[in-house]
Every structure is written in C-alpha cells, then in structure tokens.
Amino acid sequence: MLQQQLSSQSSPEANLASLSNEFLTFKLGSEEYGIEILKVQEIRSYETPTTIANAPSFIKGVVNLRGTIVPIIDMRIKFNLGQASYDQFTVVIILNVAGRVVGMVVDSVSDVITLGGEQIRPAPNFSSTFDTQYITGLGTVDERMLILIDIEKLIAGADMALVEQAKH
C-alpha cells in the first residue's frame, strides 16, 4: 500500500494521482468527509476530557489514552458544523499525524472505502467552511459525495493552535 505525502505545491491532478486509496469516512453535521485510513490510530467513544484553561473553544481538553495524554478537538465547533452534542453515540477518531496523537470528535463514523483514481474529482474552488487548501478532492461512491481532507495539514496548521508554531 503506497502512502505518499500530499504536497501543497503540486497541482490538484498530481495530488490525486498520488493519493492512497483507502479512506475512513465520517460525518460532521450533514456532510460526509474522508481521511486517509493510515492516519487513523483508533476510534473510541467520547469521554469527558479534562479542560485546559485558556484554550480555544474547539479544544475540549485532554484525555488519558492508555497512559498518553491526548488532546481532543471538536471539529464541529471549530468549523461551525451542526450541533456539538455529546451522547453515547458520539465518536472520537484518534489520529496519528505530524508525530502527535490527537483526538477528533465527529458525529458518526461510517465505513472504510477504497476509491479508485477515477472516482476522485478535484474540488472546485469555492469558499466553504474548510479553507480549501485542506481539501484534496471530492470522491463519489454510489450516491454519496465525500469531501476528502488532508488531515495532517489541517491538524498541524497554524490556526488549529495545536502545534507550537516556530516564531522566528
């Protein structure tokens, strides 16, 4: 299974060509998203994190994951998607990106699907909730449209305030 880093410089077509094929799909609000399965470490149910003072509202806090302290972020809050409610069906996707382990709260997780190159289209350049630089393409499976995201770039991006940005 080839796993290649997506570069921001290359054209969308070149990006698509280098995409790996398996995606984990999940729902945020009414939209469905897909991220590379290799970045996903595990999927857990939601447990109330320990809040961290003075953190942005979308960083819910940290939880104990078998001895490791993992921050939990709620994408629904960050990108204003749907209702940020927490019940027994709320799911947390634990990601392993940029050398860190981070948890992401989503509404629900669907399945892992394989997308062939012809099923992925480049994303049109419309301004949406996500800054489009994170969207690597749109996948179509049956009737569903999946918004494919470069999760590593998103998490490590400056506006997530998760990673200390080098200041000088």
Partner: protein
C-alpha cells in the same frame, strides 16, 4: 606511520570472522579509557605519584592498544604503544614523571580521541598526523628530557647561504626574523661579509622546521643556495636552557625567541587527603560492578514502572471501597503491592540519576588549557560532586556551565600581577558546587576575581540604548548582562566577549525549567547560581478541586493549608487580597481567576487556602476543596499538545481521568502581576 584507515570494509576480518560488529563497543570503551586516563593524569602529583594511579593509567593505555591492534587500527595502536612504553617506565620507577611528560601524554590523548572519532565515524576527516607525537614520546621514554618539548622544539642551526651574486641580499633575512613573530633569533657569524666563496654564514635558533625556513628564505635568496645544518656546539646550551624553561617563567634568559612564558597552571581538584585511599578503593570496586546499558532500555523501564504505579494506584482506590472484613487477604495484598511498587519506583528513578562529578570532571582539563592560553593562573575547587542529576539534564547543563566557567576565567579572574597588586593570591580560584535544595538542585559557579563592574555595565547599556538610571540597585544592574549582545569585554577573545553567551545560557537554563541568578561584589568576585528542578517523572502531589476539576500542586512547594476565618482576608489598595498567617502577610491568589474558571463556591467567607512557596516567596492559593495527597506520574503535555502557561504537566488519576499539574512559579507570578494591573478589586474585609 602506517595508517590502515577503516573505510567501511573491516580490516580486522580474520578467519572469516567479521569483527565490525564489535567496533561500537571498542569505541565506547576506548573513549572511557581515554577520559579515565586524562582525569588521572591531571590529578597526578608529579612529586609524589601514587603507585596505583600509575598502574591504572598504564592499564588504560594498554587496553586501548590491545583493542586497536585487534581491530586493525594501526595508527591508534602505534601511538598507544609509545604511550604504554613511557607509562611502563614511569610505573616501574625507571623514569620520574615531569610536567612535560604529562602535557605530552595529554596531547597524545587528544590525538587518540581524534583518531577514534575518525575511525568511529564515516572514515572521513583528516588523517591525524602523529609522527611528531610518536617521536617525542619515544624520546621521553628514552630518558632524553632535554630536547623534547610538547610544543615546538627550539633548534640551533648553522645556515650557509651561497654562493650569492649579491651577498648583501642575505641581510634581508634579518628583516624576516624581525617582522615575523615567534620565528626565533638570527645572528650573523661572518660579520656581515661574504666569505671566499661568496657565501654568508648565519646562526639561527628557531622552532620552525627546515622546510618552513627554506620556504621563507626563498623570498630573498634562491632555495638551492641555502644549506641548513644543526649547530652542534649549541646543543649543550640547549639542554640547560631546556631544564631552565620548566622551572623558570621569566622569558628573559632563554635563547628562545618568542615562546610565550609557560604559565603555571596549578589545577587541583581539592579532596581531603584522607579520603583519597578510600575513594580509590571504592572507585576500583565500582569499576568492576558497572553494567553497560542502552539508555533506551532504561527509559522504557521507567515508563513501564510509571504505568505500574498508575495501575497500582487504581487498584488501591478500588480496594478502599471493599469491606475490610470480607476482603482481608485482598487488602493485605494490595498494601504489600503498594509498598513494593514504591520501592521499585525509587530504585528505577535512581538509575537515570548520575552524579554531577561527570560534569565537573571535564573542567580541570578545560581550565588548564584555558588558563595557559590566557596567561592566568586558576585553581578549581569543587564540592557536591556526588549530587545526582537526571542524565538528560546533565547533558544539557554542561554547555551553559562551560560557558559560565569560561566567562569567569576570561573576564572575572584577573592577570596574576593585578591580583597580587590587590592583595589577592596570584592564582584565582573558581568554586563549583552542587547541592539539593527543596525540590531543586542548585549549582553555583563562584570566582574570586574582579567582580562585575557596575559603571562599565551601565555605560555599555546606555551605549546599546537600554534604559538605565544611576539609581538602579546593584541587582538590577547585574540583570542587564542577560540582554542579548551585551558584553563589556574590552576585546573579543575566541573564548568569550562577543556578547553571544549570557542570554543563550539563560535561555538554555530556562528551557530546562530552571532559573539563574547573578551576584557580584566589585573587586571580590562573582557568583552565578543555577537552579534546576529535579524532573522526576514521579512526584508527590496534593490534589485540590477548583470548579469541579482536579489540579495537582507539587507537594514540595506546599507549605501548609488552612481554612481562613472571617476577617483574616484583607485587601491592600490596588494590590489585591492578602491574608495574615502568624503575623506574616501573604498575597492571596484565586485559582479560579488564574484558570479562568467560574466560582462554584457561593460562599467565599471561609475559603480554603493552600500556602505554597516558590523561589523564596510564599503565596496563598485559594481553592474549592482539598481532595487528597498522593504520588502522581508526571506526563508531558507537550508530547501531543503544546505548552500551557501555568501548567507544568499532567497526570492520570486513579479513576483514569487526567489532572493538570500546576506550575506554581508561573501561577504565582502571573496572578501577582494581574492583581497589580486590575483596576477594581473586590473588597473583602
């Protein structure tokens, strides 16, 4: 000198056995032997060498030689063989040790280090030319002490130049000797007149090599005309001069040209004489009882023990809910488990702790070389070498300490004559000490030099555009030193003075979670104090509840906790609240405010206060509840998240939840500044 450099393929394959897998072990052991040898050489008393030390040094060289020969590193083997020969004679008392021998052996040690580095690395880098060293070692071993010098050898030469078409051109050689420093002395033997064959005769004493002289002379006369021969008649005089050079610092009476006066550097690690034999016996014992372990394995062990502590804490917590009568055996087992776990954790934590001696030991050599270079005399006194520090911290503290010591020698300690003028002993002293204080380790670097010059610092600060006023206290003036680019050094040496050092030192120490303080008295000396937290992964903490969340306060910082009665809280105008505790007024910091949490206690009239101490100052923290006191495993928050102000780490409680550990120093600092900035303070009487 033959050099079978190791270039990827193993030169030591014999009988098809590939020895390259053992290279790493050889390099590590050789490195240890070398540093052991260096330490012992430095500590060797020339007049009264301890028998056991000589044997030990010999063994070091012998081991290195054996390993090098086995693995086919000819150059290392050759150099160590000469060392070994000399050391053998010393330990058999066939030769007496001299300062010059020690210097030469130290230089040989450096060369060996370079060779090892080259072989141990990629095989690149310059081949270390040890022909001279080998020669000099041989000469010393042969008992030929007169001519052998660790630095350059002064040679007396008879130079005949000619035949020359214009004999006067040879006079230009005088100019050469005049203009080029350290070249030596030239004297005409022919009264400035050419002889019958149009040749000129000169007598030269120089440290330069023949080919270097030829190169230089060829500026004025053709190379083929120059004939250089050793001057036989001068050799005898050289011997005396050679001896004279070691005892006599005065540059005058020696025939040498420009050799810098040998600065006496008496560097002695001061230990009580009585302790020496015991320390030696102990050292011999511990040598054989050590084990080489990969650091990663130790770290893994520490992590696993940490997990064990968490699980055990959870079990203990569950156990408390059990009926003691029905579950007697279970509870007994659990308390036994708790005892064993605590012991295990103490033992494992101590594995990574290394005594400060490891850091201190590199300084004698550095000081010796440095002082010699600067022409100063410096002694090093250490105390607290046995104080232990985590391995990771030790590696990171070495650079800042090195810089501080270099600063002391370069700028602090004055030249010997100036010191004598001020009624100080000619040799300056640097005191290095380490000690445990509370939950920190304090390392002091103190010198009895000139101290910080207040006026110079103020002037330099003004020059750099920093706001200063003459009414600043001494302490405030010293703080200016930390500014980047700040240096009052009159000239920049390659040792220090560029103004790059002090702020980097402060930054490095802050990165370790420590603090550094300066104190100085002009004319008497300077003291720099470095305070580092003992970053134990497991520590004792007191858990408190603030707004329903649990926070841990390091127990080492907690002085006491109390419930305040009505009226004990007062407000100081514009400063915030204070509480009176046994006739001492302490500022009150509400953790709710610091953590931006909302108040859950409706009734603040009898708040719970936890009094903490940080950097000598006490503060009272207001919390909702005192939950308990237990050992916590410190987890790093920054591994997956980032540094959070006011929080020094996180831990996992018995119920599996995460609790944040307060950074007491920061909480106190922030809240205090916030208090003084806030326009309105709630009034409570």
């Amino acid at each position: 000198m033959s050099d079978n450099s190791h270039q990827g393929a193993s030169p030591a394959a014999s009988d098809g056995v590939d020895l390259s897998q053992f290279f790493q072990v050889f390099f590590e052991e050789a490195g240890e032997n070398l540093s052991g040898m260096e330490t012992m050489l430095l500590a060797l008393d020339i007049d009264n060498p301890v028998e056991e030390d000589l044997h030990a040094i010999f063994r070091c060289a012998h081991s290195i030689k054996g390993g090098a020969a086995t693995f086919g590193f000819q150059d290392i083997a050759e150099l160590t063989h000469e060392l070994e020969t000399l050391l053998d004679k010393l330990r058999k008392h066939e030769l007496k040790p001299t300062r010059e021998m020690i210097d030469l052996m130290l230089t040989a040690g450096d060369a060996l280090k370079a060779q090892l580095a080259r072989h141990g690395g990629s095989g690149e880098g310059n081949v270390v030319d040890t022909t001279e060293l080998v020669e000099e070692l041989r000469m010393l071993a042969a008992g030929n002490m007169g001519d052998a010098k660790p630095k350059a050898q002064v040679r007396a030469l008879d130079i005949v130049i000619g035949p020359l078409t214009n004999p006067a051109t040879a006079d230009n050689l005088f100019e050469l000797f005049k203009e080029i420093p350290d070249m030596g002395i030239i004297v005409a033997r022919d009264d400035g007149k050419a002889d019958a064959g149009n040749k000129r005769h000169f007598h030269v004493e120089t440290t330069w090599k023949d080919d270097e002289l030829l190169d230089l002379f060829s500026f004025h006369v053709a190379k083929e005309c120059i004939a250089i021969q050793p001057a036989a008649s001068i050799a005898a005089k050289n011997d005396d001069a050679g001896f004279g050079l070691f005892d006599d610092d005065a540059p005058a009476a020696t025939p040498q040209g420009q050799l810098t006066p040998q600065a006496e550097v008496a560097v002695a690690a001061q230990k009580a004489e009585a302790n020496k034999p015991e320390a030696r016996a102990q050292a011999a014992q511990s040598e054989s009882a050590t084990l080489r372990v990969n650091v990663e394995k130790v770290d893994q062990l520490i992590n696993l023990v940490g997990e064990l502590v968490i699980t055990q804490a959870m079990l203990s917590q569950q156990g408390r809910a059990l009926d003691p009568v029905h579950h007697q055996t279970m509870l007994t087992g659990l308390s036994g488990l708790e005892r064993s776990t605590r012991s295990l954790q103490d033992a494992v934590m101590s594995i990574r702790m290394i005594p400060m001696a490891v850091v201190f030991n590199r300084f004698p050599r550095m000081l010796r070389d440095l002082a010699a270079k600067l022409g100063k005399q410096v002694e090093l006194k250490t105390s607290g070498e046995a104080t232990e520090l985590d391995k990771g911290l030790i590696e990171k503290i070495t650079d800042p300490l090195t810089h501080l010591i270099r600063n002391s020698v370069d700028h602090g300690i004055e030249m010997p004559d100036k010191r004598i003028e001020s009624n100080k002993p000619a040799a300056g002293t640097i005191f290095l000490s380490a000690s445990h204080q509370g939950g920190s380790i304090v390392i002091d670097v103190r010198d009895d030099g000139a101290g910080l010059n207040r006026e110079r610092i103020l002037a330099k600060a003004r020059q750099q555009g920093i706001e200063v006023s003459d009414s600043m206290t001494d302490q405030e003036v010293w703080q200016l030193i930390w500014a980047p680019g700040f240096s009052t050094a009159e000239k920049v040496t390659d040792v220090s003075g560029r103004g790059v050092g002090m702020d980097v030192v402060k930054k490095n120490i802050a990165a370790l979670g420590g603090t550094v303080e300066l104190d100085s008295a002009e004319g008497h000396g300077t003291r720099v104090s470095v305070r580092l937290p003992l970053t134990l992964a497991i520590m004792d903490g007191m858990s408190v509840a603030v707004n329903g969340e649990i926070f841990i306060i390091p127990l080492a910082s907690v002085v006491e906790s109390l419930q305040v009665r009505e009226g004990m809280l007062r407000t100081v105008v514009g400063q915030g609240r204070v509480v009176e505790v046994r006739s001492e007024y302490l500022p009150v910091v509400s953790l709710h405010d610091v953590l931006n949490a909302s108040h859950t206690r409706a009734d603040d009239s009898t708040p719970l206060l936890v009094i903490v101490e940080s950097e000598g100052a006490k503060t009272a923290l207001m919390v909702d509840e005192l939950v308990g006191q237990h050992q916590v495993v410190v987890k790093n928050l920054e591994t997956n998240y980032r540094k959070v102000a006011g929080v020094s780490g996180a831990t996992i409680m018995g119920d599996g939840r995460v609790a944040l550990i307060l950074d007491v120093m920061h909480v106190v600092g922030t809240a205090n500044s916030r208090m003084s900035n806030s326009p309105a303070n709630s009034l409570k009487h």
